[in-house]
């Protein structure tokens, strides 16, 4: 009789594992398998990994895709560009989100929930539509340039569209809430008497912020950084729509390999390597977080 609730509990624990196995592990294993295959013309556009020769099973693993990807500068640059864009936009978002979250956390409870609502509002419309909106703002004859020309700040339209600047604007705009919310959650849960204690012990407002509030908010900062840095590396829509040909990020590279070149094995190899690159910062964040006290 005692094993019954135990069984139920185990089944409950099993749910997330089954979920991850179906929706994460299986697709990844498929991609890994394709990355170890080679191109052929046909459908599917890659050689099967194994074949039966009579009663013998023959498995052919092809590592050439990885060797090719690692040896080509194009891919290396795409990885580096992605890392650079992710790092810079994460820093930009932190610089904007922290003061924003701090401001909201210091408002009265009533206006707080309204301001948090405003942060989330953009999610109510499709991201694609919002990026298109940015295109019409940033175009040479777009809203921004018309306004600046009309006011007379500039005499020639600024070229923002199809540059790296446009990518940063688009990415920072799209991902900012993911940075604001964890920092806000952390700051608003903070104990206000700690600030008073710091003030009582001789800290000015500024000193109390740097010695108490900021170090205690680092968990929120780390969570926010992880939430934006990792997806931005693989970002496809924003660089594709707002960026120029000179900024080749890895998401676009994978797309080109899959759909333009129809080279699924190489595209898969690029994807597997991206995952390896991403796993490193995730593990770093995780170990950092588990070490810092709550």
């Amino acid at each position: 009789m005692q094993s019954k609730p135990n069984l139920g509990r185990r089944a409950l624990v099993l749910v997330p594992y089954v979920w991850l196995a179906i929706f994460f592990l299986t697709p990844f294993l498929l991609v890994l398998a394709i990355s170890l295959s080679s191109v052929r013309v046909g459908m599917p556009p890659y050689e099967p990994l194994y074949a039966w020769q009579g009663s013998l099973l023959s498995i052919r693993l092809n590592l050439e895709n990885f060797i090719f990807v690692l040896g080509e500068n194009t891919y290396l640059f795409a990885y580096l560009t992605s890392l650079k864009v992710a790092a810079i936009s994460t820093a930009l978002m932190l610089a904007i989100a922290y003061p924003l979250a701090y401001g909201i956390a210091n408002c009265s409870p009533h206006s707080r929930s309204f301001l948090v609502f405003l942060v989330i509002v953009p999610f109510w419309s499709s991201m694609l539509i919002r990026v298109y909106a940015w295109m019409s703002i940033l175009r040479n004859d777009g809203l921004l340039n018309s306004l600046l020309l009309h006011v007379g700040v500039i005499s020639e339209p600024l070229r923002i569209m199809n540059t790296e600047t446009a990518i940063y604007i688009g990415i920072v705009y799209t991902y900012l809430p993911f940075m604001v919310l964890p920092i806000y959650a952390n700051l608003s849960a903070g104990d206000r008497t700690l600030i008073e204690a710091a003030r009582d012990l001789g800290c000015s407002r500024m000193a109390a912020f740097w010695r108490v509030t900021f170090p205690l908010s680092l968990r929120g900062v780390a969570a926010g950084c992880a939430l934006v840095f990792i997806p931005v590396i693989g970002e496809f829509v924003v660089p594709d729509l707002l960026g120029g040909a000179d900024t080749q990020m890895i998401g676009r590279t994978i797309w080109i390999e899959f759909f333009n070149n129809r080279d699924w094995p190489v595209a898969s190899a690029v994807t597997v390597l991206l995952l390896v690159i991403l796993v490193i910062p995730i593990v770093l964040f995780q170990t950092r977080l588990s070490r810092t006290p709550t």
Binding site: D191, A197, G202, P215
Partner: protein, 355 residues
């Protein structure tokens, strides 16, 4: 004598609510002073104005002669021990204690020396590398105390410092606080709602209610000579009966009380007029209960054995209740529920109250 901490006509309003209402108190150097009152009486707000966390709506705070009303908290020579302790969770015990000294930019050697000194005094030396969340409640309380004391403040402010401790540790810590305060010769101002705690630790107590100070005095003064029924009942227990008429003979008053159902005695006083409304107050431990004799007649309705004493509730003939406490000296109990008793007391055991 010039007061070391001087609160002059201090008021604080939050919107339409007046938390502190025209309070004036002088506190001497080296005093252990208590602000005592129920929650919401304004005692914490008063303490926070002394610390500099709240700006008074009106009035002046003087510290060692100087007007500090406009001086912000971080520049005041006061330190506060918070009710929640407010220890910094990201810093070790040692760094928590050193926090204020680092902010004052003292030399490393001096900081270390002072931290070690105070840690030793409060038995924290072995815990300096721990984080606050690894400590017990009593240990946290001592760290909070050490962190405030290490700055050698002119005045240490303690906001319900023992509220989170269990009863036994609480009593022990009360004596520890008093010993520490004497040893250091510092001025302590403590906020508490626990009258027993205030009586145990303080040299003087200010009893507050609804933003006003009702009475200031030593524990004995406020207990023996309360100024009002409220003070008498707030500090310990008191039987209070309204009087109708009084006759004076020498140092004694004989008072007719319809509420008590007879005449009762009290010490004569010139401070209270017996022409208007007045009351008599007598402490339960001063009430004598006898099976025969004179006094107020009543029936024992309830009895509780409290270890150090036996508590009787007597229903008087007038219908009023009278509490009496017999100190437990080991003698046999000769009263039980339902017995008819006569309650009396020495005239000097009772006080006349004007309000």
């Amino acid at each position: 004598m010039q007061s070391y901490v001087s609160i002059e006509n201090l008021s604080k309003s939050f919107g339409f609510f007046t938390a502190v209402d025209d309070v004036s108190i002088g506190i001497g150097k080296g005093e252990f002073f208590s602000l005592l009152g129920p929650s919401g009486c304004g005692k914490s707000t008063l303490l926070r104005m002394i610390a500099g966390f709240e700006a008074p709506t009106a009035g002046i705070v003087r510290l060692d002669g100087a007007d500090v009303t406009a001086v912000p908290a971080h520049r005041r020579a006061t330190n506060m021990m918070f009710q929640s302790y407010a220890l910094f969770p990201h810093l070790s015990v040692g760094k928590n204690i050193a926090f204020g000294l680092q902010q004052d930019r003292l030399a490393r050697g001096e900081i270390r020396q002072r931290v070690c000194e105070v840690a030793e005094k409060l038995q924290l030396s072995a815990l300096l590398d721990r984080k606050p969340q690894q400590l017990s409640g009593g240990q946290r309380q001592r760290v909070a105390l050490a962190r405030a004391l290490v700055k050698r403040p002119k005045v240490l402010l303690l906001d319900e410092p023992l509220g989170a401790l269990d009863k036994n540790l609480r009593t022990e810590t009360q004596y520890e606080l008093v010993r520490l305060q004497r040893e250091l010769g510092l001025t302590f101002i403590i906020v508490t709602h626990d009258q027993h705690e205030a009586m145990t630790v303080s040299s003087r107590i200010a009893i507050m209610r609804q933003g006003k100070v009702l009475q200031v005095g030593s524990p004995a003064e406020v207990y023996e000579t309360p100024v009002s029924r409220y003070v008498a009942k707030f500090l310990g227990e008191a039987n209070v009966f309204e009087g109708v008429a009084a006759r004076r003979s020498g140092n004694e008053l004989t008072i007719e009380s319809a509420e008590a159902g007879g005449s009762v005695f009290a010490a004569a006083t010139d401070n209270v007029s017996t022409s208007g409304r007045f009351w008599v107050s007598v402490r339960p431990e001063r009430v004598e209960l006898n099976k025969q004799g004179s006094g107020l007649e009543g029936v024992v309705e309830q009895f509780s054995y409290a270890g150090s004493g036996r508590h009787y509730r007597v229903r008087l003939k007038s219908g009023a209740m009278l509490d009496a406490l017999r100190i437990n000296l080991g003698s046999q109990d000769d009263l039980s529920v339902g017995d008819t008793v006569f309650a009396s007391w020495m005239p000097r055991a009772a006080r006349l109250l004007a309000e």
